[in-house]
């Protein structure tokens, strides 16, 4: 896309990356715990984070290359349809508010670290627990792939490798660099690194957004002009499809798609292993609810960033790969040094969540596959080692998604992950509120949902690709176009309910439920609820309190 390497931008970008990497390695020493080889330590940061750290962690998960690259790119490509990300994030908070405190309580009461742990304890079913674990790991991969695409886009625009007409090594160089940095720094420091780096990341992001959202519209002559030019661009016919490129407002036909994408994404988000990791690493039940009152600030950011897609059109950015639209806009509009800052924000903004995601997926594997099925007597040191190796493998899986799927519509990576992870909803959320569902019915529902979702997604073609070309398809029985993930989820739920009636009628054996109703409402301080690892509870709780008081300054 670019004629040469943008030296100044690249230097600034590298400066921030080195800074962040150094912080990552130092983070291993931050709030040092007694036993750093324990999985709780590497994978959950010792479960001792208060409101602010949890906020940054959760924010770090939610606002990623998805926000900075994929959503604006979707807007750049087709207009209104890409804006579903805003209602999606709005709907996430009421859901978190309702579901996650119960999960926190029961997890801290019984020492659950993953959703699979909970499902096994609740339904006494190893098979169901395995299904949830496999789904979590699988669904995380395309989501990490999206982050890699984000970093790649930035490096590409800066002129580091990339371009379409070079040999494969130079073309994929940005991707390989992105992958290497991510792998090295997750491997070394676990969850503490992303938590600390999240502060730098968010500071950079806020700065860039503030500047972008004020400076660029002024330079482009105000929002009236921006939208007028965007509207004109959308009305032009796309030669590949023979239809207009997009629209400023979704038409009748697009409204179902819009609503189902928003709802499906919102339901999916907090099922991801990494969202659960962030939630469980908070210090008390109340921290989660309090967080839902401040997290929406991120949604506002997301909305403002989405508008950059229109600005890219108005600024005359012409890229064949939509993912490059926003980095290219920054390069065109900003002085080189600030473009470097903006690129660093995007790059780090993709790196942090990718690290958190791969750690969470690795935790799932170690606890619920390695320990349950392969080596039940593994020592904590072995567990940590396996987790670290798996976190690398998960990234390799993500790389495979990047290399095989169409990178020009990166938002599809996240939507594909959503199709899969949504299928664990009945077991997890159902289990949080009722034990009425039968474990075999849940497993059958899950299998049907997974198969339907995967087959349906496989069958979607796009102008650039024959399979996995999109995430929406006609909803059977309704005839409107809707998000495949949500359709699969509904089918999954119907199968689960129907089979539960059958299995209950024939008195199929139920598993043992090790949880009690009061476990779901227990809070820190109640008997038997550990805010910390039992090993070093008193010491770590003290350290966490001190750090929190320092961070909050008022509580």
């Amino acid at each position: 896309m670019n004629d040469g390497v943008n030296g100044v931008a690249l230097a600034v970008f590298i400066f921030f990356f080195v800074l962040v990497t150094a912080m990552g390695f130092l983070a291993a020493r931050w709030r040092k715990a007694a036993n750093e080889n324990s999985l709780d330590e590497w994978g959950l940061g010792g479960r001792s984070f208060g409101t602010w750290v949890t906020w940054f962690l959760l924010g770090g998960d939610l606002y990623t290359a998805y926000t900075f690259v994929a959503v604006p790119a979707a807007i750049y490509a087709a207009g209104a349809a890409g804006f579903f990300a805003v209602p999606y994030t709005i709907l996430v908070y009421p859901l978190i508010f309702t579901f996650l405190p119960r999960l926190w309580s029961v997890s801290h009461k019984h020492g659950y670290v993953t959703t699979s742990d909970f499902v096994r304890g609740r339904f006494g079913s190893k098979g169901l627990s395995l299904a949830v674990a496999v789904t979590g790991i699988l669904a995380t991969m395309p989501y990490i792939a999206l982050q890699l695409v984000g970093i790649q886009a930035v490096l590409d625009v800066m002129g580091v490798g990339g371009g379409e007409d070079t040999n494969w090594f130079v073309k994929d160089l940005p991707l390989l660099i992105a992958f290497g940095v991510l792998a090295a720094y997750t491997y070394s420091s676990g969850l503490r690194a992303p938590a600390l780096i999240a502060f730098v990341k968010d500071t950079l992001i806020y700065l860039v957004i503030a500047v972008a959202i004020i400076y660029i519209p002024i330079k482009l002559g105000g929002f009236d002009d921006i939208f007028a030019r965007a509207s004109e661009a959308y009305s032009e016919t796309n030669p590949a499809t023979g239809a207009p490129r997009g629209s400023l407002v979704p038409g009748e036909a697009g409204q179902w798609t819009y609503a189902t994408l928003a709802l499906g994404s919102a339901l999916a988000l907090f099922m991801y292993p990494h969202s659960i990791t962030a939630t469980l690493s908070s210090r008390s039940r109340e921290v989660i609810r309090r967080n839902t009152t401040i997290l929406p600030l991120y949604s506002l950011m997301l909305g403002l960033l989405a508008l950059l897609g229109f600005m890219a059109i108005a600024a005359g950015v012409e890229v064949s790969n939509g993912q490059l639209a926003i980095p290219q806009l920054f390069e065109n509009m900003f002085p080189a040094w600030f473009a470097g800052v903006a690129f660093a924000a995007i790059g780090i903004g993709a790196l942090v969540p990718a690290a958190i995601m791969s750690i969470a997926a690795a935790n799932l594997f170690t606890r619920n596959i390695y320990k349950d099925f392969i080596k039940p007597d593994a020592t904590p040191a072995q567990e940590t080692k396996v987790s670290k190796v798996v976190s690398l493998l998960v990234k390799v899986g993500a790389l495979a998604f990047v290399l095989t799927m169409d990178k020009t519509v990166a938002i599809n990576f996240q939507l594909l992950g959503g199709i899969w992870i949504l299928q664990t909803f009945p077991a997890l959320v159902g289990g949080l509120f009722t034990r009425w569902f039968h474990r075999w019915a849940l497993l059958a529902g899950w299998a049907v949902g997974m198969v339907y979702g995967t087959v349906a997604a496989y069958g979607v073609a796009s102008p650039t690709q024959k399979h996995f070309g999109g995430s929406s398809k006609e909803i059977p029985g309704i005839g409107e176009i809707g998000y495949i993930g949500l359709t699969a989820f509904v089918i999954n739920a119907l199968v689960t309910i129907a089979l539960t009636f059958v299995l209950r009628a024939v008195k199929a054996p139920e598993g043992i439920d090790e949880t009690r109703p009061q476990d779901y409402t227990a809070d820190a301080g109640d008997p038997g609820v550990s805010t910390e690892l039992p090993l070093d509870a008193a010491e770590a709780a003290e350290a966490a309190d001190a750090a929190d008081a320092a961070a909050d300054g008022k509580r």
């Binding site: 709005i90 009421p94 508010f97 929002f223 928003a262 709802l263 009152t293 929406p296 600030l297």
Partner: protein, 88 residues
């Protein structure tokens, strides 16, 4: 307060909890009813209605969640107090 041991838990549905439910449900109704905001006018500083309306809902939903959170805290405190009283 002490005749029935179960009364310390209080009724499951209370006016406060209904309000909490409404606060949490409202964003779903507003956002999923796409037809209610799929239009360009009126614009706000040049931004079509479709976009600024949804961003406005970010703020509205934040306010609603804060209300739900405060009511929930009050609900829990009242319950804890009732429970403590019953035990004594």
């Amino acid at each position: 307060m002490s005749q029935a041991p179960d009364s310390s838990r209080g009724p499951v549905v209370t006016p406060g909890r209904v309000v909490i439910g409404v606060c949490l449900l409202a964003p779903f109704v507003a956002m999923l009813w796409v037809g209610s905001y799929a239009r360009t006018d009126p614009t706000f500083i040049g931004i079509p209605f479709f976009y600024w309306y949804q961003m406005l809902w970010v703020l509205l939903s934040t306010v609603l969640t804060v209300i739900a959170y405060k009511l929930w805290q009050r609900d829990q405190r009242a319950r804890a107090a009732a429970k403590g009283g019953a035990e004594r």
